[in-house]
Amino acid sequence: MSRVPFYLLVGVLMLTGIVMTVYRHVEFDVPWTPGEQREVWEVEAQVNFFANGGPVKVNLALPSHQENFRVLTENTASSGYGLSFLDDDSGRRAQWAIREASGGQQLYYSVQLLVAPDAEAPAVRPPQIPQDITWERPYDTAAQGIIARAHQQSADAFTFARELIQDFSGDRQDENARLLLTRFDRSPLIVRLLNQAGIAARKVDGLMLEDGRRRQALSSWLQVFDEDGDWVILNPATGEQGRPDNLLLWEASGQPVLEVQGGSNSGVSFSMLKHNEPAAVAVRNQLMNNTLLNFSIHSLPLEEQSLFKTILLIPIGALVVVLLRVLVGIKTSGTFMPVLIALAFIQTSLFTGLVGFLLVVAVGLVIRSYLSHLNLLLVARVSAVIITVIAIISLFSVLAYRMGLNAGLTITFFPMIILSWTIERMSILWEEEGPKQVLIQGGGSLVTAVLAYLAMNNPWIRHVTFNFLGIQLILMAFILLLGNYTGYRLLELRRFKPITED
């Protein structure tokens, strides 16, 4: 009987669980601990224009997930306008439309961005290099001169671009550069020159994030690609390479940031605010793509989410029970009854729960001992115990409320059927084996319930089980391994001690 398939299964479960968990952490930036704070930027774009009185179409570029930032939520405010989001090769865009508008118009778009240092940039395809780039005289010679010079003083696409930019800035500006700048804007000009030299490049628009700034405008940056498709961001003013940490690329596909049809005097300005949020909130706000790997409880409606929060904790309780039974050897009354009691403790808080549990079981045992004299059939007797338990719980709730103890009301969270069976079993145990066994098994159940409660109520465990479904597979693997344990239980070390004393 080979155990290889078993260990293979455990290994596969363990590995899948770990990979899923790490993937969630790395790819979606779900933090390991619930207390972690995350920096979140709130950026608002305000589109202003003057409508001409006819139909209006407004098309605004929107930011996407990118290096350093992840889009959490986005909102728009635009009274009377129809809105649709477009997502194609030229990036994400919002399109507002209205049949008739006149006078000054304001459209708002706000986005929450999570600062995620390890977020990866999505794959970017280099733009097509235009084939026929023609210059009028005398700009052609000036351009050729600058390209030749930069080519000489550089080794590859990136150093070439840097040289080129420096030729247009500061002291190095020569005649050729000055001539070209009289005719062209700086950023498009540099892109044009780079393209002519056979280098893929485009102008992108970015926003420098600074806390509390208002009425900011986008700045242009150059995105330059080399032959391998790698790219860098260059500052078109200084030639400085690399993107600043606080640069948010708003439009990164060489398209216009804002297009307005049927309006004039259009413009877009930005205001921004930084705040810190608990990581869990930040995670919840993430816009999730519905890929299989991103299988997440967060895609469910909120109500079901909170239900799952509890359901996903049950395996933890089960693990505690397995540990205590297999490794320690604690006796409980009903295998998983302690887990259900622990779930009730979560609702009631530990102290109230313990007091309530002991009160209900103790009173139940007294009444049950009377029922045993009535000579009833088992099912009828247990049903009578159920009604008794309900009566006890109602009584305690009312009494607690009258005495001003609101905590007493939470006693209703106890699973009544389970309590009734517990009372029935304990009562039988009492009759057959005496009060000592009742104390042993009842105590064992309570200890297990309290430990399961402590595990299930631990903020970190709650966070991890809810946010990483892979944990469930790891738990499964652990429980399978424990099911294969043939060693001694802790309490057996005591039980068999007399044998070793000879």
């Binding site: 009987m1 297999v326 050897g329 000579n375 059939l377 088992l378 099912v379 039988i428 057959e432 084996e433 294969n484 344990y485 043939t486 060693g487 001694y488 239980r489 057996e492 070390l493 005591r494 039980r495 068999f496 001690k497 007399p498 044998i499 070793t500 000879d502």
Partner: protein, 320 residues
């Protein structure tokens, strides 16, 4: 207070986890469990194999029949009511004799007709059965155990537990009821366990509540002189339960009846580990040795093998 795992291992002690995984789930096919979990099935099976069991007075299968219980037991003197699917001795009611006033338990406690009916009704409802399934009640004649044993027991019937592994008797003990155990032969309730030498059926070691014991706590009789008569017959009876049930790891409970000799009381597919305490050694070396033996030996050969290899001299004899 605690023994190190290494020490226990050196003694060959088997823990619950190992028993469950390595022996019960490997050698006891699930589909064979009903044969031993249902005492009525065991009884009928034993009859087919010519193994003696206590006589069946009758069975109660429906709540409607409960009120006939007194008619059923009338004229039988002593009797025992058992749930067919009970475990660990739960729900067994022993009545030593009956008279006009009612039914007398071995303790002298007197029960009435209603008590009897309630007990049977509880059995039928599944109160004592595994998983709470509805059950039937067996009524058996009382065993009249061998007189020499009466000095070793208090109120209850002493029984002999033999662990049979792949048909080989590997370890044996006698369970003597005490006042603490309320006349029941359950070790965890306070019965005295006496390890028995597989070769001769003589006492090895006495244990009560897991602590060594030289004499019976209630009768005061020393345990060292305990020697089971018809030992070989008893071992063969135990060993043949392997062929009867097909269960590889089996606990056989037997009694010595005055008239019928060794008698099969019940079988257990999940025998406990306390037998190791009463023998002062672990099961592991013996089970390992049996696992190395080829299959197909007959009952006589298996009993002979066990008596040869598992012979021990008890500390009780050494002491006396």
């Amino acid at each position: 207070m605690w023994a190190s795992p290494g020490k226990l291992k050196a003694k060959g002690i088997i823990g619950m986890n190992r028993r469950n995984i390595r022996y019960i789930s490997r050698y006891n096919s699930r589909h064979l469990f009903p044969l031993v979990d249902d005492k009525l099935k065991t009884k009928l099976l034993a009859k087919r194999f010519g193994i003696t069991t206590p006589d069946l007075i009758g069975t109660v299968t429906t709540q409607f029949d409960v009120k006939h219980i007194t008619d059923m037991v009338a004229g039988h003197g002593g009797f025992a009511i058992k749930p067919a699917k009970g475990s660990g001795g739960k729900g067994i009611l022993v009545i030593e004799h009956q008279d006009a006033d009612g039914y007398v338990k071995p303790s002298g406690h007197r029960l009435h007709r209603e008590d009897l009916e309630r007990h049977v009704s509880n059995i039928l409802s599944g109160l004592y059965s595994l998983g709470g399934a509805t059950d039937i009640a067996l009524v058996e004649t009382l065993i009249t155990f061998d007189e020499f044993l009466s000095e070793y027991t208090y109120e209850g019937v002493p029984d002999i537990r033999v662990i049979v592994f792949k048909g080989y008797p590997v370890m044996a003990m006698m369970r003597l009821s005490t006042a603490a155990s309320d006349g029941k032969a359950n070790l965890h309730q306070g019965a005295v366990g006496v390890g028995l030498d597989i070769a001769t059926g003589t006492a090895l070691r006495g244990v009560q509540f897991d602590r060594p014991r030289m004499d019976h706590p209630d009768t005061g009789h020393e345990l060292a002189s305990l020697r089971i008569p018809d030992w070989e017959v008893l071992l063969k009876l135990a060993a043949s339960c392997y062929e009867m049930t097909g269960l590889g790891y089996l606990g056989t409970d037997m009694v010595l009846d005055r008239r019928h000799g060794p008698m099969l009381l019940e079988l257990n597919a999940r025998p406990g580990l306390a037998i190791q305490m009463t023998n002062g050694e672990g099961l592991r070396p013996r089970l390992d040795l049996i696992e190395r033996q080829p299959d197909g030996a007959n009952v006589e050969a298996r009993v002979a093998f066990a008596r040869h290899h598992f012979a021990r001299r008890g500390e009780l004899q050494v002491a006396s």
